[in-house]
């Protein structure tokens, strides 16, 4: 299991992008706590949370705080932003984390 060492962010607030901020889990927290804002919350809110959480789990991160501000990003963009934020936050990414075919 890996942990986020320090707060880090990736992405922008441009249309079609998502700004992802990751931070170390606090206290007894034992999950990935996601605070999400999205223009398409009604249609894709659950899907975005799931994409963020599953991307983190595949990197072995199961405890963290995430703030995400979505501007209609596609799943591939969300995954890219989450991976970059994790790397910047001190999480060593798994071999093959970046799939160029996804």
């Amino acid at each position: 299991m890996k942990t986020v060492e320090k707060p880090a962010q990736a992405g922008t607030l441009e249309s079609g992008d998502i700004l992802v901020v990751v931070a170390p889990a606090t206290g007894a927290q034992d999950d990935i706590a996601i605070e999400l804002q999205s223009l398409v919350m009604a249609q894709y809110g659950d899907a975005i949370r799931e994409t963020i959480a599953s991307t983190m789990r595949t990197q072995g991160v199961t405890r963290a705080v995430v703030q995400a501000t979505d501007r209609g990003a596609l799943d591939c963009t969300i995954r890219a932003r989450v991976l970059t934020a994790l790397a910047r936050g001190g999480v060593g990414l798994e071999e093959g984390a970046i799939s160029w075919n996804a």
């Binding site: 079609g16 398409v40 659950d46």
Partner: protein
């Protein structure tokens, strides 16, 4: 009950009456007669000029429960509606219905008057901004009536929309009530949407900030129908009324869609002498005119007319001889105003001639092609331009349904994805324009043809255009974006969407935030 598109409708609606369900774009025919306003007389030497709006209210007199009508040529620069409603509030009037052909953000003060009961009814063809937001949240007890531009003319003509007092925002007026839209600081061009109001309202008031000596020339709305003339400081803000110039989009996706839409027109064999055309002012719609212009020049053809809301781009096509005439119900920019003022080939027409389905023929019937937008389109080609993806009201038909019904080829142009949201859905949230009147959808990833038009599809395929099944385009979008969940909706009906023939095509329910 359900209408012919399967939409659930109430049998009756308080404040509206029995609901007539939509039965098909041309299934409902008229059986009534036109309504006529009372006869009047004005004696020689009588004076129609009144000092201020308050005095007009007293003279008429405006009473609780009346319907006051307004036109929207001033768009987001309108100053008349707010001034008139402020007087209504000051005089303690209640329960007014506002029949304003389109509502814009500038009309935000109306929200407070809805909350306080001064305004309890709204009848319109389009709305955006704070009023749309408040209506979506359920501020009114009675549902708003959404009409089309042609349907509003029809409703006024037959008395479905009985106007007690029409307030006409007049860029130029004389003291005997002659009005035009082409002179003065607040010139807006055509006054077409005000024509039915002026013709059928019981009382007509000209509100102007540009009083000219009698007789005004030219005359768009005549003294015969105008009872009072009021001069106020300002009737609007020219910056909100027109844009300087309307630009062709630089967005490469929009340009690709526009180029393909033009190719559809060409493949349909319509780039020929006598070609007639309508398009909007926005994004890919206007850009389509740009590509059509090139094709017309290359083929050396002269079109008959361009119709609808007129932009400088269409004016330049008129001046180059690509169209013989412009038929103008609303001008969008300074060039459109200059042209309708100076060029006799540029015609000002009312909403009835433009698009009313129940007269002896409206101009949209003579269209070869119309280019329209969509918020959503479903696999049966039904189009929503009333509600956004969250279920909130953000528009309205305007002339969308009218032009779609009239034109030989109706083309909807839209990005396959808007943000993350696919434009093609199984069932649009709010049907505005029925699929039977929509022929082609052009996206950046392919072109879908309504199965009701196999001969058209054949022509596009033969021309080598990227024709796909609409379900295939929908799947393509969902592969990229995922399938969206439907937004939650409240129970209360906040608006009825009336088709141009007076039947109800759908309802809009109260907005509900997602959990």
């Amino acid at each position: 009950m359900k209408n012919s598109l399967g939409r659930m409708l109430p049998e009756t609606v308080a404040g509206f009456g029995a609901v007539k369900p939509f039965a098909g774009a041309f299934a409902t025919t008229p059986s009534g007669v036109r309504k006529a306003p009372r006869q009047k007389t004005v004696l020689p030497k009588a004076n129609k000029l009144v000092d201020n709006l308050e005095e007009v209210f007293r003279r008429i007199p405006v009473r609780d429960g009346m319907t006051l009508s307004f036109h929207h040529h001033f768009r987001n620069g309108d100053g008349v509606v707010n001034q008139v409603l402020a007087v209504a509030a000051k005089l303690g009037l209640r329960d007014l219905t506002i029949a304003l052909s389109s509502v814009f953000p500038v009309h935000a003060p109306m929200v407070e008057l809805m909350k306080s009961g001064v305004v309890t009814g709204l009848d319109t063809d389009y709305m955006s901004g704070p009023v749309a937001e408040a209506v979506s949240q359920g501020v009114l007890a009675k549902p708003v009536i959404f009409r089309t531009h042609g349907g509003r003319a029809r409703a006024i003509e037959c008395g479905d929309l009985a106007v007690d007092v029409a307030f006409i925002a007049a860029p130029a007026a004389d003291d005997y009530g002659n009005i035009n839209g082409v002179q003065g600081e607040t010139a807006c061009g055509s006054l077409g949407y005000a024509f039915p109001d002026a013709e059928y309202a019981e009382v007509v008031v000209a509100v102007t900030d540009n009083l000219q000596p009698y007789p005004l020339h030219p005359i768009s709305i005549s003294q015969e129908r105008v009872d009072y003339v009021v001069v106020v400081d300002k009737i609007g803000d020219p910056k909100g009324i027109v844009s300087g110039t309307t630009q062709i989009t630089k967005d490469p996706v929009g340009l690709k869609i526009a180029a393909n839409a033009a190719k559809v027109i060409q493949a349909a064999g319509l780039i020929r002498d006598g070609f007639s055309f309508q398009t909007g002012a926005g994004g890919a719609s206007l850009a389509t005119a740009h590509f059509v212009r090139k094709m017309m020049k290359a083929a050396n053809v002269t079109g008959s007319f361009a119709l609808g809301g007129i932009t400088g781009y269409l004016v330049s096509m008129l001046e180059e001889g690509l169209f013989r005439n412009l038929i103008d119900v609303q001008g969008f920019d300074l060039e459109a105003i200059r042209s309708i003022r100076d060029n006799p080939r540029h015609l000002e027409v009312g909403a009835g001639m433009y698009a009313s389905p129940f007269n002896a023929g409206c101009a949209v019937n003579k269209l070869d092609v119309v280019i329209l937008g969509a918020t959503e389109i479903d696999t049966a080609f039904n189009v929503n331009v009333v509600t956004g993806s969250d279920g909130k009201i953000m528009g309205g038909s305007g002339g969308h349904s009218d032009a779609a019904a009239g034109a030989s080829v109706t083309i909807v142009v839209a990005n396959l994805l808007r943000g993350r949201l696919p434009i093609i859905v199984d069932n649009v949230l709010t049907v505005t324009t029925p699929g039977e009147t929509v022929d082609v959808l052009v996206t950046e990833r392919g072109i879908a043809v309504n199965p009701l038009r196999p001969e058209l599809k054949e022509k596009l395929v033969t021309a080598g255009l990227p024709v796909r099944d609409i379900a295939e385009l929908k799947a393509l979008a969902e592969k990229m974006a995922g399938a969206p969940k439907a937004p939650p909706q409240g129970e209360k009906i906040v608006a009825l969407v009336e088709y141009r023939d007076g039947t109800i095509i759908d309802v809009v329910r109260q907005y509900k935030a997602c959990e």
